[in-house]
Symmetry: D2
Subunit: 311 residues, 4 copies
C-alpha cells in the first residue's frame, strides 16, 4: 500500500494540472468569490494520524455537507421516528427538484436532497428558537471536530435568506402537506445558517471521524450515535450523497460521501479513515469536479472501496 | 462471531414463524404455482465452505437476478462502451416504469431496471441468433456455479413472451430512440429466456462467488472480470439492485444484492461470502419480503455490512 | 326556444332534488361555513334582460373566477407582452400542481392555474403598492358589474394568507426563475385579496357581460378590451377554465367558463348572454358540481354551445 | 364580409411569400418527398358552395386527421361506452408521449393523442379482421366526402409498420393494462392504414361537412351522428386537436380543427363551413405551420371563431 503522504502530494500535482475544473457556484456573491484553482485534501485515519495536502487552512462554506451532521443530530433526538417524515431512497432527481415532492405528498425522498434536509432541520429545531438550534448545530460540529474556532459565515447565511426562493418553495410546499412543524421563516433561518458554516478541510475530516469509527468520538470515546446508526448514515451517504450523481460516485469511488456546492466533500472509509476534499468548481450534478476525481484517485490507489473484498 | 450453520437454522425458524409473507407474483401461472411458505438460504464463504438451510433443492425462476450475469457478460464483451447506452444511477422509479425513459430519450437509468436490462441483453445478443445467445448466457451461469444441470424453464419463457407487453413497450420505446440494435422480438426472446432460468439457492450462491472474490472464479482461478469491474458491479447492485426499494435495502442490510420476482435474492459480502436466499412472497417493491428479512437478520448477526468498519 | 324564466325555475327544482352535491371547500373556515344546499343562477342576456332563480343575494367568495378579470386588466396594461411570462395551453394537471412549473422553468402553462394567475397578478401589481392594486381590481369589477357595493371579505383574505402555503410555494418557485418581479408577500397579498372578493350571482353575471358583447361594456358603451381580445379570453376560458376538468366541461357544456372553489362559475355565450351560477359543493376537479350540471342543462335546453351550428 | 374566392386568393399569395415554412416530416421517406412550397385550401360552405385555391388535386397523407373519422365511427358503434377506455382532456403533452399513460394506468387522455387514437381504432376493429376494418374506415370516408376514388397509400402504411416503434410501445403499454382488446399487430395494422389514407384538400373539406352541419350528411340527408355528438366531436377537436399546441390554436384561430403530420388540417365552422388546408412544413408541435397561419388569416377575415359573438 502506498505511503499516504506521498500519494496525497502526487494527487495534488495531478489535480493542479487539470484544466477542466468545473464551474464555481455563483448564485450568491459570497460563493463566487473563490479561486477556481483552490484545492485541499485531508485524510484522518483511525489510528489518529492526519495526512494533508493543499490549502488546508482555506475556509469554505460546507453547505450540504452539513446535512450529515443534522441528520446525526435528528437521529439522536428523535430516533427512527424521523423516517415517518423523510424517506431514504435515492431520488433520481436534481437536488432542488420539487416534482417528486408533489407525487409523494410532501414526504421528501431522502435527508440529503434539499427538501429532506429542510424537514430534518425542522425536526432538530422543534420547540426551540432558531438562534438556540443554530448554536446547537454549530457546537455539535465543533465537538465532532474538536475545534471550537469553527464559526458561521453570516454574510453567506444572509445572502441565502434573500435569494433562496427555491428552498422557500420547498418548505412552503411541505408545510402545505403538514410536513413542516415550525414556521417556514424560522426553519429556513436555521437551515441557511447550518449551510453557511465555514470550515477548512482539516476541520471537516476531523468532524467526520465518528462515521469511520462505528459512531464513536475518537477523542472522547463518547458514542455519538450507535454503531448501527453510523452504518446506516454511511449507507444513505452512499446511495444519496451526490444527488442524481450518487450512482456514478458509488460506481467510480465506492465510498459513502456527501458533497456541498461550496466545493467540499466528506468521504468515509468505514473502519479506516475520514476524508475531506475541497475544490470549488462543480460538475453538472453540483458536486466538486476535482474533488471527485481526487477521491477516485485516492480510493483506487489505497484500495478503499466498500465494494472491494475486505479482510 | 456466531456459528453460521446454527445461525441459519435460527433464522429459518424465525422466518417460518412469520405470518405476513408478501404476495407471490401471479402475472403468469408458472410463477403463481408456488408455496408461499417456501424458504431456503445458502451461504458460500470464500474459504470454500457452504452453509445452507431450508428447501435448498427447490428450483425457482431467477428472473431479474439474471441481470447481474448478463451485465457481467456485456462488460466482458463490450467493456465500458456499454455506459453509452445505459446509465448507472438509481431511478427512483418502479422496475417497469417508462417515464424516465421518455425524459432521458431512450437511455435507461441503470442496467437493473427492465429497460436497462433489455438494452444489456441487446448488447450481448448483437450479431448472434437468439438461440446462440441464450445458450451462451446459460453456459456462463453453469460455469459460474460449476453446475451443468442448470436449465431454462421454457414454459415460463413462453408465458412471458405472451404476456410481457410492458417489456415489449419498453423495447419498442428504446428502439424508437435507436437504443436497441436487434429486432424487438429477438432481443426480448433472449431476455425472456434469461429470466426463465431455473436455479436453486445452492446454484445461485455458487454462481455469485466471483463477485465476493474480486472477480475471480474460485474453482478455476479464472478471472471472470477484473477486480475493478467486480467492485463496480457490486456498487450497482447496492444502489440499484432493488428498484425503488434499493435505498431501504442498503439502509437495512447494507450489502450489494439483486432481487427477482421469483423470490430469489443474490447478495454479496465482498471478500467474505456469496449468499442466495429464496422465498416467493414479494413486498411492495417486488422484492422477496422474507428473503429481505432473512438477509437483514444474517447481516446484522454476522456484522456483514459494507458500511461497517472493516479490518 | 324555451322561456328562460320558466327554464331556470325548472332547473332549480331539478338541482334541488339532487342528493349528491359535492364537497364544500374546507381549507379555511370562512369557505366551509356555507349551506351545501345553496344554489343560484342568473342569466344576463345581451338585450339587457336579467333572468334569475335561487339565492341570488347570497354572497360567495369568487376565488378563481377573479382570474378572468385580472387577466383582462393585465391585457389592458401590458398587451400581448404578458404571453412572455405565461402560456395559454391547458395544463392537463391540477390547479395547484407545481410539476409542470419545474419542467417549464417557471413559466406557468396558462393564466388560470394558480401559478399563472399569480404571475398575472404580479404584472398588474408591478410598481404599485398592494393596497392600490387591490383597490384597482375591486373598482374594475365594480365598474364591469355596475355595482359599487361589491367588497372584499377580509376574513377570507386573511385566512388564505395564513394557510396558503401551496401558493407561497408556487410564487417562490417562479421567483427562483425570475418570473415574479414583486416581492412574494406583496404579490400574494394582492392575489389573496382578489380571490376574496365577495359577490352574488347577479353581480357576477353583470360583470361578465363584456365578454358576451365583444369586449364592450353594455351600460357605458366603453370598449373594455378589443373584440379580438375578448374572443381570446373566451378561448382561454374554454380550454383552461376548469383545470384538468376543462376538456370534460367543453365536451358537456361547450361554453367558455371559469370556476372558483367558492362554488361560483361564470359562463359566456358569445353574442348572447353572461351566466353566473353558484352552488358550493365541488366535484373531484374543484369545480362546482351542481353548478356544472345546471349549466349543462341550461346550455342543452337553449342550444347554447359554441360548438353548435350558428346562424 | 369579404368574398371568399377573392380572400382565398389573397391568402394564398400571402402564404407563398412566407420564407419560414416549417419542417416537413421525414421519419419515413414517403412523407419527406414533398415540396415544402406546396399549399392548398378548400372551403365547403353549408350552402353547398366550394371555394378553393392552390394545389387542390395534390394528394397528401391525412395521418392524424383520420382520428376524427374513426372517433365518429367508434361513437356510432359503441356510443358513450368509449369514454370508459379513453378520456377527453387535453394532455398538455406531446402527441406521442407515454408519460401520462403510466400515471393514468393505460387510459389515454383523449382520442386525438396517438395512444387514444390507437385505443379508438381497437374499438372499431373489435371482432373483425384488420382488412375488413380498414375497408370500413375507407368506405366511411369515401361516403362522407362523396368520393369513391379515395385510396390508401400502401407504401406509407408499410413504412409506418416498419418504423412505428413509438406506436408499438404505446399499444403494448395499453395492452399491459388491459386497454387493448385486439392483438397489437392487428390493431396497429388498422391504425397505420387509416393514417395512410391519401386525400386532397377538396376531398377532406367535403368529408368534414357533417361536422359543420349538426352531424348531417349534406348530400344524403343521412344523420351520420346526432347533433349532440357532432357538437361534442367539435369540442374535442378544439381542446385536443393540435396536441400541446391546442390552446394556442384555440387562442389564435378559435375553431375546432384536427391536424396531421402530413401537413393537412381539417377545421370546422359550426353551421357555416368545413375547411381543409394543406402545407407540408410543420411547426414545433407537429402541426402545419403555413396551414395554421392560413386558417388564422381566413378565420380573422371572415369573423369565423366560435368565441366571437354569434347571431
Amino acid at each position: 500500500m502506498p505511503d499516504l503522504g506521498t500519494l496525497l502530494t502526487e494527487i495534488s500535482k495531478e489535480m493542479s494540472a487539470l484544466t477542466e475544473r468545473g464551474k464555481v457556484a455563483d448564485y450568491i456573491p459570497e460563493l463566487s468569490n473563490v479561486d477556481p484553482a483552490g484545492f485541499a485534501m485531508v485524510v484522518a485515519t483511525n489510528d489518529g494520524a492526519v495526512h494533508s495536502v493543499g490549502q488546508i487552512q482555506q475556509l469554505f462554506s460546507i453547505q450540504s455537507v452539513s446535512k450529515v451532521f443534522t441528520l446525526t443530530l435528528a437521529l439522536g433526538i428523535h430516533g427512527n421516528a424521523i423516517w415517518k417524515r423523510v424517506g431514504r431512497e435515492p431520488s433520481g432527481s436534481a437536488f432542488n427538484s420539487i416534482v417528486l415532492l408533489e407525487h409523494e405528498k410532501g414526504i421528501p425522498r431522502n435527508p440529503f436532497i434539499n427538501a429532506g434536509a429542510i424537514a430534518i432541520t425542522d425536526m432538530v429545531t422543534a420547540g426551540h428558537e432558531p438562534r438556540e438550534t443554530i448554536g446547537e448545530i454549530l457546537r455539535f460540529i465543533q465537538f465532532l471536530s474538536g475545534d471550537e474556532t469553527i464559526v458561521i459565515d453570516h454574510a453567506v447565511a444572509k445572502s441565502e435568506t434573500v435569494t433562496g426562493h427555491r428552498n422557500y418553495a420547498l418548505a412552503h410546499y411541505m408545510k402545505s402537506y403538514g410536513n413542516l412543524k415550525g414556521e417556514v421563516d424560522k426553519t429556513l433561518g436555521v437551515y441557511f445558517h447550518q449551510c453557511a458554516i465555514a470550515m477548512n478541510c482539516t476541520q471537516l475530516a476531523m468532524a467526520g471521524r465518528f462515521l469511520a469509527q462505528g459512531g464513536q468520538h475518537p477523542d472522547t470515546g463518547h458514542q455519538v450515535i450507535s454503531a448501527e446508526r453510523a452504518r446506516r448514515v454511511n449507507a444513505i451517504m452512499l446511495t444519496c450523497g451526490h444527488y442524481d450523481g450518487s450512482g456514478d460516485f458509488a460506481f467510480r469511488v465506492g465510498l459513502p460521501a456527501k458533497s456541498g456546492v461550496g466545493g467540499g466533500i466528506l468521504a468515509i472509509v468505514p473502519g479506516v479513515a475520514s476524508i475531506a476534499v475541497w475544490s470549488p468548481g462543480l460538475n453538472e450534478y453540483g458536486n466538486s469536479l476535482i474533488g471527485t476525481l481526487a477521491l477516485e484517485r485516492l480510493a483506487d490507489a489505497m484500495g478503499w472501496s466498500v465494494f472491494n473484498p475486505q479482510g
